[in-house]
Amino acid sequence: MRTISMQKNLLLFSFLLIPVLLLLMFVLYPLFELIRISFTDWNGVDAQQTYVGFDNYVKMFTDSSDVWLSLRNNGIYFIFHLIMIPLELAIAVVLDSKIRASKFFKTIIFMPYIINGVAISYMFAFFYSPINGGLNGILEVLGLESLIQNWLTDESIVNLSLVFVSIWRFSGFHIILFLAGLQSIPQDQFEAAKIDGANSIQNFWYIIVPGVKKVLEVLLFLNVVGALQVFDIPYIMTQGGPGHASSTFTLYTLETAFKFNSFGMASAMGITMLILIIVLNGVQNKLFNLKGVGEE
């Protein structure tokens, strides 16, 4: 018996050895290295790395006001995506009902998500372009010249223009997730509700919303991560400009590391982002009191 259990352990050990080694090598070691570098003043080139304690974490928020501007911009992405979530759920409910050509609409809605992010950014950069740009062209044709704007260069609207692209890209994905959640709700619940005389609003509130709580939890987490890490859209469309008006925390981190040779500071920013995501996600889950069906 002893040999069997030993063999069992040996088998388990050998199966797990490589994945664990890979995990240690490519996930945990870089993470600890990132934490270590965040306490140094390393410039990315020198062999010398001096430990500076929490200096980077303090300077990050005090030396330049641009970091707050970048975080505010992340906030804009977060809020607008949050506002979109109920709307996305509503669209999913409509698509889940027996409407004509619902498959076609599902495909159309999901399409933006499978297009390459870089391609989308370029496409919209041309769409918003002041010279021969599509959006201003459409406004001109419709006789709405007064609405023509410098979509990507006016500091007051550049972030909204970018958020729109982000919503265009990710909403389809969210809707499909909701649809999957909706389809997992057993039909008998609706039938029972019908017998009890529930109307469609009650159906929505008491069956659909609790039914998709798990999906909602995932989406809220994705929203926090996505909003804090948004990178490709502003990087390609505006490079964070004009000035730092559309910069985000990730863009700012990248700039800190590679343009200004502060790898120590950039590592501190990476760690800060990790902490921010964990904290915000915790707060969000507490606020919405999220627990899936069956866990309550």
């Binding site: 080139v45 006001s65 410098n150 730092h244």
Partner: protein, 454 residues
């Protein structure tokens, strides 16, 4: 039954463990093994043969590959056209030059990442401002023949050592369409005021955009936002000078005064309806297709222009950007020295790399290459024929060349601490950000960063 199962499990176990362990250990051990097998294969008889072969080989040199990255497609085109690799092979049959084009905006980052992995190339061109960043990683070249003959190498010493040999020297120009200037009766401007007035005159005509500006990419505003402070100060190392001041963004200081002028130009709206919405590629096409009358760019733009179809080079002229207030003052103009050839300490073939640099800057290659590139020489006694485009551009009394430098270590520290980016400031100015507040904020953070200098 039970025993058979046990045996099967044991066998499976052994197979699994072997399968998992083999790649792991073979990966670790491969180098040692191959070395060992090499050692075994050299028996006594073979050793003698080897010795004889070595003697023969002494005449022939071992094949060497020199890795040589570049950042510009223009350079790549020129090297291909003039066949750099084979030209060098003619003189040095054992040396192969391996060119690699890196994306210009990612060039420095790529080198930093390679440096972290100890994989820097053998020949490494750098911009002057990067010499300080890589100072610990590159070889001093004070004894190199090419460095001794260079007019500017000594001006860019770091810690009293020549670290790079600059390839070319060029000036910054305002390129213009002669026909547009004729149409509006505009003379070549000699002062900043005349320059702004000329742009306004073209704007009032309503036919052309006066100055093409690719503000979306930020960097194309460099002739104004990067160079004008040193031109107003008449000090090519103005960044280092700024690093000695607490509040360089104050009225009366060169930086502030230059930026007031630049703001005046941006406020005149002479760069089209939305300069920040236009990238560099679009802006250069706007100029080439005569939608715009002028564009401010370096001498390097000449070969770019020539390669574009449908550009009438006879209609293109160039003048030096005037920043002075009156004709009585000296006419300061930027002199850029660019593309510093360096040799990393990690190069496996430093001697061959040095030999290559000496060849590169010799008669066999250098003049031919510079003439094709339409840039001025950095080597003593080598004159390059620049054609007719720049005729008259330098015929200015009181002309004073200001040799642009990238700033010292103190400046770099401040720049990095406050993320000082003049090109982004240029974008902010075009976007109409509050100028005085911007200067006040800069003063505050500059002073703060300076106080923390060690």
């Amino acid at each position: 039954m039970h025993q058979t199962r046990l045996r099967v499990t044991r066998m499976l176990c052994m197979i699994m463990i072997t399968a998992l362990m083999v790649p792991l250990f073979s990966g670790c051990g491969s180098k040692g093994n191959s070395d060992a097998s090499k050692g075994q294969s050299t028996t006594d008889g073979q050793q003698q043969e080897q010795k004889a072969a070595d003697d023969k080989e002494k005449d022939k040199k071992d094949p060497v590959t020199l890795k040589f990255p570049i950042w510009s497609t223009i350079t790549e085109d020129l090297f291909t056209k003039l066949d750099l690799v084979n030209e060098y092979k003619k003189d040095h049959p054992n040396v192969t030059i391996e060119l690699e084009l890196l994306k210009d905006t990612e060039y420095e980052n790529t080198l930093k990442i390679r440096n972290a992995a100890n994989e820097l190339p053998d020949i490494m061109p750098l911009k002057s401002a990067w010499l300080v960043n890589f100072k610990d990683n590159i070889l001093p070249l004070d004894d190199l023949e090419a460095a001794k003959n260079n007019l500017f190498a000594a001006d860019f010493k770091v810690n009293d050592q020549i670290l790079g040999v600059p390839e070319s020297q060029f000036n910054e120009f305002v390129w213009y369409h002669k026909s547009v200037f004729q149409e509006y009766g505009i003379e070549i401007p000699k002062t900043w005021g005349e320059f702004v007035a000329a742009a306004k005159k073209i704007k009032d005509g309503g036919k052309y955009i006066p100055i093409a500006m690719g503000g979306k990419d930020a960097w194309p505003d460099y002739p104004f936002n990067e160079f004008m402070p040193s031109l107003v100060a008449g000090d090519g190392d103005y960044w280092s000078t700024m690093a000695t001041m607490d509040e360089p963004f104050t009225k009366g200081q060169a930086f502030y005064d230059a930026y007031v002028k630049i703001q005046e130009l941006y406020d005149a709206k002479v760069m089209g309806p939305d300069p920040l919405g236009v990238g560099f590629d679009q802006s250069k096409l706007m100029f080439a297709s005569k939608q715009a009358g002028m564009i401010a760019l370096g001498q390097w733009f000449g070969s770019d222009l020539k390669s574009m179809p449908d550009v009438d080079m006879n209609d293109i002229g160039a003048f030096l950007l005037p920043v002075r207030d009156s004709v009585d003052q000296p006419f300061n103009t930027v002199s850029m020295v660019d593309t510093f050839y360096t040799i990393p300490k990690t190069s496996k073939h430093p001697e061959e790399a040095k030999e290559f640099l000496n060849w590169f800057f010799s008669d066999k290659w250098y003049s031919k290459y510079m003439t094709e590139a339409q840039l001025q020489s950095t080597i003593k006694d080598v004159k390059i024929d620049l054609g007719t485009t720049f005729n008259g551009a330098f015929d200015i009394p009181n002309l004073n060349y200001v040799l642009n430098k990238g700033g010292n270590e103190d400046y770099k520290k401040i720049e990095s601490a406050i993320k000082f980016d003049v090109k982004k400031m240029g974008q902010d100015m075009m976007a109409g950000k509050d100028f005085n507040k911007m200067m006040q904020d800069m003063n505050k953070s500059w002073k703060n960063a300076r106080s923390k200098l060690k």
